[in-house]
């Protein structure tokens, strides 16, 4: 329950992102990012940590909205 509903993007959020991804004007926001091996490695670790913390912070908000 926690996994499927609260930490992950909702279907509506995913749908909004999908619509944006299929807009030719937004293509630059979806291209691969390259900072070199070390740059991407550090960025992946930091993004993963920040993302997970943000998801945890959002849990009460999502619970409130349900």
């Amino acid at each position: 329950m926690l996994k499927s509903r609260l930490l992950y993007p909702t279907d509506e959020e995913v749908a909004r992102l999908a619509r944006m991804e299929c807009d030719p004007g937004s293509v630059n926001r979806f291209t691969p990012i390259s900072f070199g091996f070390l740059g991407n490695l550090v960025a992946v670790i930091l993004t993963g940590c920040v993302g997970l913390i943000a998801a945890l912070i959002l849990v009460p908000v999502r619970l409130f909205r349900r």
Partner: protein, 533 residues
């Protein structure tokens, strides 16, 4: 169509087996009628520009129509199940079957059926593999017949690859392979530079042999490396059964009727009588034939026979083989931060065969895909974080992502008849095996071996038993049961009824079945025509 209509040869089903069987019968001078529902979606296919994915993304204002679909059916919702890879232009493959065929599924079962033109072959990943002689014999197939049919089928459908263990029966007569992308090339070069197979398990790895053209031929062009294979193939470079049907459509001895669903079959003297419904109007139709080749797919053929008077009326349960399947989302970390520059296709890049050194039966088959044209939002939905942060993460890793599909040897579930229908298809229930053979230890060894190649597993997705879309063994040849099939794949008591799909196979090896299915259909067509041996 009236009850007195009589045909010489009728083929039921337009999938890989049906198309090849019809073609072979025509080669042998027979008159053939092919019957199928034959659903298709050519309009949507026609709206996709013949451009590389990257170019199309910046230029086509209508891309939402085929990437997401008019009802946004391309946006997955809920748990990943079978067919998640079907983009809107390919969703016709299952559309009619989902609406018309009543199929209950037990717990963790995830099945795809098709009533489309080309059947499940319309969504085939195009990976080709040959079975060993031991595997063919275990399946109940004649190695001599199938080995020679492999060559004929490959010539017919077109393929590319390098001689390797996956297609050991094809020798070196296959055209050069499609180029690998940067991601796959790096994995393969690491594999070749490391010491081989020091553990009790051995791994083979190489470019995946594909039913895709690296050289143009009549009516079809070589693979353009547009990374659009999940959406479109305007150059017909990847084989689909409908290309064979197009080829034979003008043959004076061939006719095809679409919109017809076969629901039962029975013997009437020396003839076979087929009965079914028009899928659009619901009217019942009948026709007779001297010889019938059933190639409706393992589940479809079982559904027809279990509903047939005098054949399956006492059959409440039939077996069903399917390869357990899962896929691993893996990071090819040595390539992290490097851009993928080469043009690429989006079919499987590499194959792998992993097995215990002393147990060939333990073989696990792997297919390695790179990820780009399936769009980033499908990745982001799998990350436990807000979408914008997830999008940033996806952009960091997408060029070094590898999706590894893992197929195991087929395990046996069941098809249970719920209700027969006199004027429609039978209702069935499909049940996963109660005790799934566990190969966890072997998969742990595999994950370790891949880690040695720089591939780190980020996630495992198991869409459920049946999600491999590989089905067989519903009417196993030679096995005691109510519906019995002989060694020449004739249904006992019905000398005019042949099975041209994977229903009679007794085992299902881990390697993909489609090429062997086509070779089998070809040899069954020869038996039906009285031309075998």
């Amino acid at each position: 169509m009236n009850d007195s209509e009589l045909h010489e040869y009728v083929v039921v089903g337009s999938g890989p087996g049906g198309a090849i069987a019809a073609h072979r019968l025509l080669e042998l001078g027979k008159k053939v009628l092919l019957i199928d529902v034959g659903d298709d979606d050519p309009d949507l296919r026609g709206k996709i520009p013949d451009l590389p994915f990257e170019k199309l993304r910046t230029t086509d204002g209508n891309q939402r129509e085929y990437f997401l679909g008019s009802a946004e059916e391309g946006i997955p919702r809920g748990r990943v199940r079978v067919g998640a890879h079907l983009t809107p232009p390919r969703q016709f493959v299952r559309r009619r079957a989902d609406r018309i065929l009543s199929t209950e599924l037990s717990g963790d079962t995830s099945i795809m059926q098709s009533l489309a033109l080309g059947g499940l072959g319309a969504a085939w990943g195009a990976g080709i593999a040959t079975y060993s002689d031991a595997e063919l014999a275990a399946a109940g197939l004649d190695p001599g017949l199938i080995n020679s049919a492999y060559h004929e089928v490959i010539t017919r459908i077109g393929a590319s690859g390098v001689p390797c263990e996956m297609i050991s029966k094809l020798g070196n007569r296959i055209p050069r392979p499609l180029p690998l992308d940067d991601n796959a090339e790096s994995v393969l070069s690491r594999f070749r530079s490391l010491p081989k197979n020091s553990s009790e398990h051995e791994l083979e790895l190489g470019p995946y042999p594909l039913a895709a053209l690296s050289e143009s031929r009549e009516g079809r062009e070589k693979q353009p490396l547009h990374d659009m294979d999940f959406y479109s193939d305007s150059r017909r470079s990847v084989f689909r059964p409908r290309y064979i049907l197009d080829e034979i459509s003008s043959h004076p001895q061939f006719s095809i009727r679409r919109g017809l669903l076969v629901t039962s079959i029975k013997r009437a003297g020396s003839l076979m009588e087929l009965k079914g419904v028009h899928v659009d109007g619901g009217e019942v139709w009948k026709l007779s034939a001297r010889r019938v080749i059933l190639a409706a797919g393992a589940i479809g053929t079982a559904r027809i026979l279990m509903n047939s008077p005098g054949l399956g009326e006492n059959s409440g349960i039939q077996p069903l083989l399917s390869n357990p399947y899962r896929y691993w989302v893996m990071l090819n970390y040595p390539r992290l931060g490097k851009r993928s520059e080469k043009p690429r296709h989006s079919l499987a890049q590499l194959y792998g065969l992993f097995r215990h050194r002393d147990k060939p039966d333990s073989e696990v088959s792997l297919s390695f895909y790179s990820y780009r044209s399936l769009l980033l939002f499908k990745l982001v939905r799998e990350f436990p974080m807000p979408t914008q942060i997830g999008l940033f993460l996806a952009r960091l890793i997408v060029d070094s992502l590898v999706i590894v599909g893992v197929h195991e040897r087929g395990t046996e579930g069941r098809i249970r008849l719920i209700r027969r229908s006199e004027n429609g298809p039978a209702e069935i229930r499909i049940e996963a095996p109660t005790e799934i053979e566990t190969t966890n230890l072997q998969l742990k060894s595999l994950a370790r071996r891949l880690r040695g190649l720089g591939l780190v597993r980020l996630a495992e997705v198991d869409p459920g038993w049946g999600s491999s879309i590989h089905y067989a063994g519903t009417i196993p040849a030679g096995r005691a049961g109510v519906i019995r099939v002989g060694s020449e794949f004739q249904v006992e008591g019905c000398p005019g009824l042949f099975i041209g799909d994977s229903s009679p196979w007794k085992v299902l090896p881990a390697r993909g079945l489609t090429l062997t299915l086509m070779a089998h259909a070809r040899s069954v067509a020869e038996m039906a025509a009285g031309e075998s041996r």
